[in-house]
């Protein structure tokens, strides 16, 4: 069964009035800022249910942590797999649970394949620097090319990792899949990153939506293809407002914080100079360091606040446009919920020195379950297994360029 034969997965008219104009996807009214009166297709509303227990999460997390330390982090591939298996198995839709079928071994293998290339890459640059008789101009050129290569490979890795996860996700005995070339998408993403830079990030909403559309439109559940023609129009204004607030807030923090730090440092250094005491000098240094740390946290918080509206706008746009196997989506997410999730998780992980990670994961799962609404019902008999490419090894490239927690 080829992906192209999935047309019959269009929502059936009985459940979705909007499906009368089958393709292109039903028109969506331009969303009103801050409102949620987007034309929603009718149908029963359900959602994902996460019924994991925090205690059970710790039962997986603590042995994982111990083994990861004992094996000098090599165990992390098996640790990630155990965690995913649990999270997937405690998430259900329409009463049917998900299953994660990846293994630690294949993820480790992916890492083994990529690592020598990565090492060659890193040490190659060092060797070029010390060993070759080339001019500084050429070296700078090589470094710029190297930076771009890292960008490029990170994007390639993100795409490949999504494919890996989709092919390892099973629901009702049918797995996900993803078509398209990670290498080609990485090229596009790198070009878009350049474009974003040239336009002082003004192009960011457009590039982000284009890239996200690509990833969604190549994703499958069985032979049912996801469809989402995302537009940047609805998110553009929230991005600009967010960016202006973030930049202004950052400058304000740096300005005010800088003045306070400078004044404190001067006062303290005067005292320490007159008394000549080492302790006072130390106190001055420590207080300056603490002040910088606080400024850093303040700026991070400003960014979360400023861009949470943008996050919500993206989520709403995706929910409004995405369709998969007769399902439509909606989201009740609000900027407040986004802020509480990010800020809460950061504080929990930081103040427990990482031991609170399961709490953060638990909160994230609940956040996702509570903020994704599914409209309609999957007609199971219409979705069949599709022989989409199933990579044999997992996430090696992502591990090398973008090591994440999950």
């Amino acid at each position: 069964m080829t992906p192209d034969q999935s047309l019959r997965l269009q929502p059936s008219p009985a459940r979705t009035p909007a499906a009368d104009n089958a393709s292109p996807p039903p028109p969506v009214q331009p969303p009103v800022q801050g409102g949620s009166n987007i034309a929603q297709p009718a149908g029963p509303r359900t959602g994902f249910v996460y019924d994991g227990k925090l205690g059970e999460l710790y039962g997986i997390f603590l042995p994982n942590l111990l083994w990861t330390i004992l094996t000098l982090t090599i165990f992390r591939f098996w640790a990630k797999t155990r965690m995913r298996r649990y999270l997937w198995s405690r998430t259900s839709l329409n009463g049917d649970r998900f299953e994660y079928t990846g293994t630690g071994g294949e993820m480790f293998l992916g890492f083994l394949i990529v690592m020598p290339v990565y090492l060659l890459f890193i040490f190659g640059f060092q060797a070029a620097y010390y060993g070759l008789d080339i001019s500084d101009a050429v070296l700078v050129g090589v470094q710029i090319v190297g930076a771009f290569l890292i960008f490029y490979l990170t994007f390639v890795a993100q795409y490949a990792a999504q494919r890996y996860r989709l092919t390892r996700t099973l629901w009702r005995g049918i797995r996900g899949g993803m078509t398209g070339s990670a290498w080609a998408w990485g090229f596009k993403a790198t070009f878009f990153a350049l474009l974003t830079g040239i336009t002082f990030t003004l192009a960011l909403p457009w590039t982000q939506m284009r890239l996200l559309s690509d990833r969604l439109n190549h994703s499958y559940f069985g032979d049912a293809k996801a469809q989402a023609e995302l537009k940047s129009g609805p998110v553009f204004v929230t991005y600009i407002v967010g960016a202006v607030c973030a930049v202004a807030g950052t400058f304000l923090v740096i300005f005010l914080g800088g003045m306070i730090v400078a004044a404190t440092a001067m006062a303290l250094s005067k005292v320490s100079a007159s008394s000549g005491s080492l302790e006072m000098n130390l106190a001055a240094n420590v207080s300056v360091m603490i002040a910088f740390a606080l400024m850093y946290v303040a700026i991070a918080l400003i960014y979360v606040l400023a861009f949470s509206f943008y996050q919500v706008a993206i989520a709403r746009e995706v929910a409004a446009k995405l369709q998969l196997g007769g399902l439509r989506f909606a989201t009740p997410v609000t900027p407040g919920r986004v802020m509480s999730r990010y800020v809460g998780n950061i504080l929990i992980v930081v103040f427990t020195l990482g031991l609170g990670l399961p709490i953060a994961i638990h909160r994230t799962m609940l956040f996702l379950a509570n903020n994704i609404e599914v409209i309609g019902e999957i007609e199971g008999s219409e979705i069949t297994h599709a022989n989409l490419e199933r990579p044999k090894v997992g996430e090696g490239l992502l591990e090398a360029f973008d090591p994440g927690i999950l």
Partner: protein, 350 residues
């Protein structure tokens, strides 16, 4: 949610299965269909079990997709009774996790041991294969990076005195460049490509020219034995290992930085002995280094430690070193009094 489920792996249909057992086979039916599928007992595996609902998720060994979710029932009990190994899946999985963890712990320890004991010897052998021309090229850049930003001391008489001393010490076939930089901290470095850099602080702290000649002989011995190159190779190996284990976390880069210009204990001891030989061959007093260590050790005690230069703190303990470097006071002084005074003024601009 605690309902049984059967998914055939072909379509995304959720069946409510009715299970019966016929001989050594599990027959899956539903209210509408008399027989959906037939699973031989020997082909059945357990995927997992939900602790809260008690539901056991079964799959087939011969086909990755179909799934059968069964809660406690006479049919499931019959299956587990017929295939007792299915009930112990949890223990098997725990064992597999333990084996993976234990294996990699042992592999990690072995890699660590090899890196610690074996690799340094391997590096010494590998060094022989590195061409001198490569060493020169690398050295030029390191040398430039080391002296960049410092004032070079070029007092004429002092430079001549130092050069005369160096020429006496140099073994056949070795030529080196020697720079004195205006830095208070007492230090001396041997850099790949046969460069030695000495700080003015070292000359000031020395109470006799023999101490300077001792340090100089030690650094020349490092170069003769090609220790800088050996150090880079051996530390690069360690850095590579760290990178392999930790992945792209930047730890490899840090290790790389630390790799340049640091020596192992063995290399230091070797250089101590060879340095003394060089002094003897030149007919000079060879206890200067030992005396210098004493001066440094006293200084260390006064300051309560912690202010030692790198090249000393990674070295064998100072008192130990003073002991075996203390050979005899025989031989000529390193330079004349006039030369020594000139050397002490090497950083003055007159």
């Amino acid at each position: 949610m605690a309902e049984d489920r059967y998914y055939d792996g072909k379509t995304a249909t959720a069946h409510r299965p009715l299970i019966r057992i016929e001989g050594e086979e599990l027959v899956i039916a539903s209210a509408e269909v008399a027989e959906l599928d037939r699973w031989p007992f020997a082909d059945i595996r357990v995927i997992d079990q939900n602790k809260v609902t008690g539901g056991m998720n079964f799959g087939r060994l011969s086909d990755p997709a179909p799934r059968l979710l069964l809660h406690d029932s006479p049919a499931r009990q019959a299956l587990l009774a017929a295939q007792p190994q299915l009930a112990t899946w949890k223990a098997r999985e725990a064992k597999r996790g333990f084996v993976v963890g234990a294996t990699w712990t042992i592999v990690g320890l072995a890699i660590g041991a090899i890196a610690f004991f074996g690799w340094r010897h391997g590096a010494a052998a590998l060094t022989q294969f590195v061409p001198k021309s490569w060493e020169k090229r690398v050295g030029e850049k390191v040398h430039k990076a080391v002296i960049e930003g410092f004032t070079l001391c070029k007092g004429e008489d002092g430079t001549t005195a130092l050069r005369t001393l160096t020429d006496k010490l140099l073994p056949d076939g070795l030529e080196i460049s020697l720079d004195v930089i205006d830095v208070k901290f007492p230090n001396a470095l041997a850099i790949p490509g046969d460069h030695v850099v000495v700080t003015s602080g070292l000359i000031e702290m020395a109470t006799s020219p023999d101490m300077v000649s001792g340090v100089l002989a030690h650094e020349i011995a490092h170069l003769e034995l090609r220790h800088p190159t050996q150090g880079i190779i051996s530390n690069l190996g360690v850095a590579a290992t760290v990178s392999i284990i930790l992945g792209g976390s930047g730890a490899g880069d840090l290790a790389y930085l630390a790799a340049i210009l640091s020596y192992s204990r063995e290399m230091e001891t070797e250089a101590d002995y060879r340095g003394i030989e060089l002094l003897r061959e030149a007919g000079l007093k060879s206890d200067g280094l030992a005396e210098f260590f004493k001066v440094l050790a006293e200084g260390e005690e006064e300051k309560g430690g912690g202010m030692l230069p790198d090249w000393l703190s990674t070295h064998p303990g100072l008192p130990d070193r003073a002991k075996y470097a203390a050979t005899d006071g025989a031989g000529k002084p390193a330079m004349s009094d006039a030369e020594w005074q000139a050397l002490r003024r090497i950083c003055r601009k007159t």
